[in-house]
Symmetry: C2
Amino acid sequence: MHSIKYFQELFNERLAIEKFDKQPIELYKPISYTFSLGGKRLRPVLALLACDLFEGIIENAINPAIGIELFHNFTLLHDDIMDNAPIRRGKETVYKKWNQNIAILSGDTMFVLAYEYLMQTDSKYSNKVFWVMSKTAREVCEGQQYDMNFEKQSKVSISEYLNMIRLKTAVLLAASLKIGAIIGNANEQDADYLYNFGINIGMLFQIKDDLLDAFGDEEKFGKKSGGDIISNKKTYLFLKAMELASDDDLNKLKHFFANTDFDENEKINSVTEIYKKLKIDELAKIEMENYFLKAIENLNSISVKDENKKVLSSFAEKLMRRQR
Amino acid sequence: MHSIKYFQELFNERLAIEKFDKQPIELYKPISYTFSLGGKRLRPVLALLACDLFEGIIENAINPAIGIELFHNFTLLHDDIMDNAPIRRGKETVYKKWNQNIAILSGDTMFVLAYEYLMQTDSKYSNKVFWVMSKTAREVCEGQQYDMNFEKQSKVSISEYLNMIRLKTAVLLAASLKIGAIIGNANEQDADYLYNFGINIGMLFQIKDDLLDAFGDEEKFGKKSGGDIISNKKTYLFLKAMELASDDDLNKLKHFFANTDFDENEKINSVTEIYKKLKIDELAKIEMENYFLKAIENLNSISVKDENKKVLSSFAEKLMRRQR
């Protein structure tokens, strides 16, 4: 079994060989630009790890892994327009650097390329890969739509929130693993166990993100804490607090999240204080722990030798413990 | 062989059975809305006609035909944002009726659905269909990008223009035919002949569009003539005129197309007068005639009985003669 680092390097090496810059350059330049911004390559690495788990032929999974990363980056191009996000990974987003039309159309092109790379594998697997990807792509769109709806929705339940992050974040991690498993020639049941493992680590990944944003060590996290609070984002922490708060705290939370004209630090401090008083951070950690335990259970159910599973179980642990 | 009308009705009947309205409704409602606006269903009908040409099983081509129409409508959703087009088929476009974010994301979802419907055919054909569609989808994006580039580009050659309309318009008609041919079990050579037939009728279709916009009978055409002239669009007519005009007319054309603050009728009359003086309409008709002859040659090369080809050859003639 190879390490995460090994697959990260392999993936980046292979990605670097691909030539995306074609004519018209306005359409293709944003693709190489987006890749040049780097990133953890989480999803393609999961696909390669999954293929390796079943001792599959890694070469068969390289192009699909590139397809998955293309798909992920396509969603970022369009999401950044919808979310008015000017900066990503410390650089200008595509719609900001070029313009909105280029971000729409270049995104569309990345989506086509994503499918093309995904289908470039042994023909035994390509049809299955296609259907996993398409279902996932629809779900990711649904997740983004729910996320946008929640901004305007006065009441969002925890279960609605969990469903949203499952669609917006977890299913693509899960699909990456499942695609790797399919190409690794896993049987259907094992591929599904691994898919569920992916859902569960995806859920804990997002809840951890919410936690880090509110309580993370700013230096380690690499960005200022409290961004979600400032932007009135309905995170797990906020929704759980709304569920549990006394009338007094409820009014405070409503007040802080209905307006934007506060001193930023005052708002962050007041809100995180309520979170702490209600032990929301503890509750979030328990929720994460539950997802972690389910993920490990899924992994244990897979019919390969335990030794092969170590990379993925330690990966899940790392997601739990990560400080950034 | 069945008629165009037969396939139009069959397609609309089958489309009406499909249920697109799922949750979240913001994402899926624009899909049924777009279909409710109607349209000639040109592309899916071409796919069904092509399948019929080779006496294939029409049932196998229905879902892919729906996929093609979904793809076409996806491009309209995104193009209408990019082109700031508030009205299509007499109704509000999606970004105007809802908002831009919904048009982006619902368009993305239509794109996924397009692929899913395209792949729902006999597994003998689905892989080939996939690759035809993906190449075409990339080309359509390229065509739209060139079209946007031309707006800002001071000089556009006729050959650049022809390449743009080939990508933006013709390849999707050609791909629709080729996909129908593949599902009709045509051999590769015949499928390619039919693809080329589609390219040639696509080219004549777009040049006819340019002609109708400038010289069409407003009542028959169903919209006001001269829209392209008012919006300074670099059509075949304009670019040909720029090629052939005397210095005096060249300056006039440049003047009219560099500004927008003219009396609309005065601008239309002055420009169409130059077009007529230079016999641009005649030249455009000759160009169309050439594409028509090439299309018929392509059709003649196909190894099915002549009787089967009549619907498509009369279809090409209709495109030549159409008044709207």
